[in-house]
């Protein structure tokens, strides 16, 4: 479980996060939703320590991240996998080398063990016959999958995904969402997913945090979200006509 308590963050006078207090459960897909520019990525990067918070505390299973020194943070980060918005695969390395990279850096496994682990991770995201291709040679959906494979290479306890299905067609997007959910269940990971896609909410929104202008505006599950009376949230959801119809019919 990851908890944040009253975290705030400003960039040069512009306050991007305001007093966000929430918790993300283990073994569940925890979604952070909100408009573009509402502060989802900044919240994620604050939790990861890529941005230092101005105020507040962050706990990884009770361990106070904000008070940790750089060395302890580095150690903790080996328990974290991250899937970036664009995949962020290393473009000078092949698919296989990308997945192997964290193993090279942080384990003392033999080449054989590494190869097995790499293949295990790639099989989990349904990639085969692409081991020696470069990221530029595979499709966007495949890049996301390889990014997921790389993120789970070190058996993480925490998985972060920033807009994992942006730029993908709806069908592939659903496949990626489901894949992340399966992995979350199978390895009992605390997974946090940023998205502005209502489809993802309906598919895998086991726990949903809605932020608006950097503030927590609503929290609940995918079943609760269609019944909410929260005005800002409704404006966000029903910007999509389809969901407006769905609500009327329910």
């Amino acid at each position: 479980m990851i908890e944040t308590r009253n975290i705030s963050k400003s960039f040069g006078g512009q306050q991007v996060l305001k007093n966000v207090t929430t918790a993300f459960q283990k073994g569940k897909t925890n979604l952070i939703i909100g408009r573009s520019g509402s502060g989802k990525t900044v919240l994620l990067k604050c939790i990861l320590g890529l941005h230092e918070v101005d105020e507040g505390e962050i706990f990884y299973d009770g361990r106070d991240f904000t008070k940790m020194n750089e060395k302890s943070r580095k150690k903790l980060r080996q328990e974290i996998g991250m899937v970036f918005q664009g995949g962020a695969l290393f473009d000078s390395l092949t698919v296989e080398e990308n997945v192997q990279f964290p193993l090279d850096f942080f384990t003392t496994q033999t080449p054989k063990e590494k190869e097995e682990r790499v293949n295990f991770c790639l099989e989990h995201v349904n990639i085969s016959n692409a081991n020696n291709l470069y990221p530029s040679e595979i499709s966007g959906g495949m890049q996301k999958r390889v990014a997921i494979a790389r993120a789970i290479a070190l058996n993480p306890r925490y998985l972060f995904c920033d807009e994992p299905n942006s730029g993908l067609d709806p069908e592939t997007a659903t496949v990626i969402d489901k894949l992340i959910q399966e992995i979350t269940k199978e390895f009992n990971i605390t997974t946090i997913i940023n998205t502005h896609d209502m489809n993802s909410v309906i598919e895998i929104g086991e726990s949903v945090l809605f932020i608006s202008n950097g503030e927590k505006c609503w929290e609940g599950t995918k079943d609760e979200i269609l019944k909410t009376n929260n005005k800002t949230l409704n404006e966000f959801i029903f910007a999509n006509k389809l969901y407006a119809k769905l609500k009327e019919s329910s």
Partner: protein, 246 residues
Amino acid sequence: MKFLYNIGRYFAMLGKVFSKPEKTRLYIRQLFYEIESLGIDSVGIIIVLSLFVGGIMTIQYAYSMSNPIYPVELIGLGTRDTLLLEFSSTIMALIMAGKIGSNITSEIGSMKVTEQIDSLEIMGVNSASYLILPKIIAVVFIFPFLYVLSVFFGLIGGLITGPAVGVITMPDYISGIIWLFEPYYVTFSIIKSLFFGFIIASVPAYFGYYVQGGALEVGKASTKAVVNTNILILLTDLILTRLLLT
């Protein structure tokens, strides 16, 4: 103000770059890769440019020394000393800043804007050190070799061109290039090339590492990196020449 901020951040970055490597083996793998991609790949352009410039300088010296009061050896000597002192070190560094420097900025810059650098940091890898240190070592290491190569091919350029266009005979040219040879010029230029190598790797790396935005900004950063690298090379040249040669 902005200037001071950049200087401070540049040195802070170097601090990160020169902290203890985590996995030496991976750094060495990276180092060989960089020596190949930044160094070996520059050999061709250095040879071509040096051949041309050596040839052109020989013709020009021959022209300006055509008065019989000048000993004919001055043509070879002039070509040699210009190559040794300035062309093969400084001018070559300016050209390499355009090639290697913009390459480094765009590589690191595009890694930055596509979050590959964040991705390294999340994994707990010191991204500045892992990406930049092998480049600095590679360029500093290969620069003296590129210098020697450039001098050699510059002299060859003169040797071919001078006699070919009929401004000097081959024996006159050769006796010129060994006439009054000052070995210290080589030492001096090799010292310079070490400094230039460091600047050419680290300054563009800085501009790439702190780029913000997208592909457009990476392009702009490359241009800025090359301009700043060139200015720093000339400034360093001025200082080192004053300190070491007078």
